[in-house]
Amino acid sequence: MTVRIQHEDFDVGREIAALRACNAQIGAVASFIGVVRDLNDGDRVEAMTLEHYPGMTEKAIEAIIAQASGRWQLYDALVIHRIGRLAPLDQIVLVVVASAHRGDAFAACEFIMDYLKTRAPFWKKEQTPDGARWVEARASDDHAAERWRTKG
């Protein structure tokens, strides 16, 4: 299980190949890539800056992966989250989960992403034509994480 917080971009193909290398028991790999859009809440986004709480971020994501591992059968998981200044089209976050079968891989990948959205201490500041603004947390993200409490 690996968590990396970094300024640099990541190569999805290389990361997935490394995660499943040498383990012939892995039958399913699910991944999610979050990307910067050029529009949010009706305004053009020219760039964004991602800030985080060093130390707590890693701890929170490790705890989320540990929870997923307790719930589904996982061979490995990787989370990479970028920080600093990002532009539209840039990759922000990568979640990769390896399991024996697709059901566990899909579910764990979505679970990790939903929990990361509400528990990992990152904050986005968007640069729009009207100036810079902090992105507001969405109630829909809380709901996405909340539904895992009841769902199998």
């Binding site: 979050g34 991602l50 800030e51 985080h52 709480y53 130390g55 707590m56 701890k59 929170a60 989250h81 922000i92 976050v93 992403m113 990361l116 959205k117 509400t118 528990r119 990992a120 201490p121 990152f122 904050w123 986005k124 500041k125 902090w134 992105v135 507001e136 947390a137």
Partner: protein
């Protein structure tokens, strides 16, 4: 006397003009809710940034913490807006 370290992130850091501080905790302040009130009573930007109707999250020693979380000497406390990563 208990001394804690307080960190502020994102909009809260900007509003208060403070990234971190060391604070000698008055004996009357026992938990996160008490600390938030103490800081709010500084007035001005603090009053607004930590207003009761504002959604502010807290962490103690890098774990999310509720209002009732007790505080101890040497704790690292953080206040920040709801997170927006991913």
């Amino acid at each position: 006397m208990a001394t804690i370290k307080i960190l502020y992130f994102a909009g809260l850091r900007e509003a208060t003009g403070t990234a971190s501080e060391l604070l000698a905790l008055p004996a009357s302040v026992k938990d996160i809710a008490g600390l938030r009130t103490l800081l709010r009573n500084r007035g001005g930007a603090w009053l607004e940034a930590l207003a009761e109707n504002r959604r502010v999250r807290a962490a103690v020693n890098q774990d999310m913490a509720g209002d009732a979380q007790p505080l101890q000497d040497g704790d690292e406390v953080a206040f920040f807006p709801p997170v927006t990563g991913g």
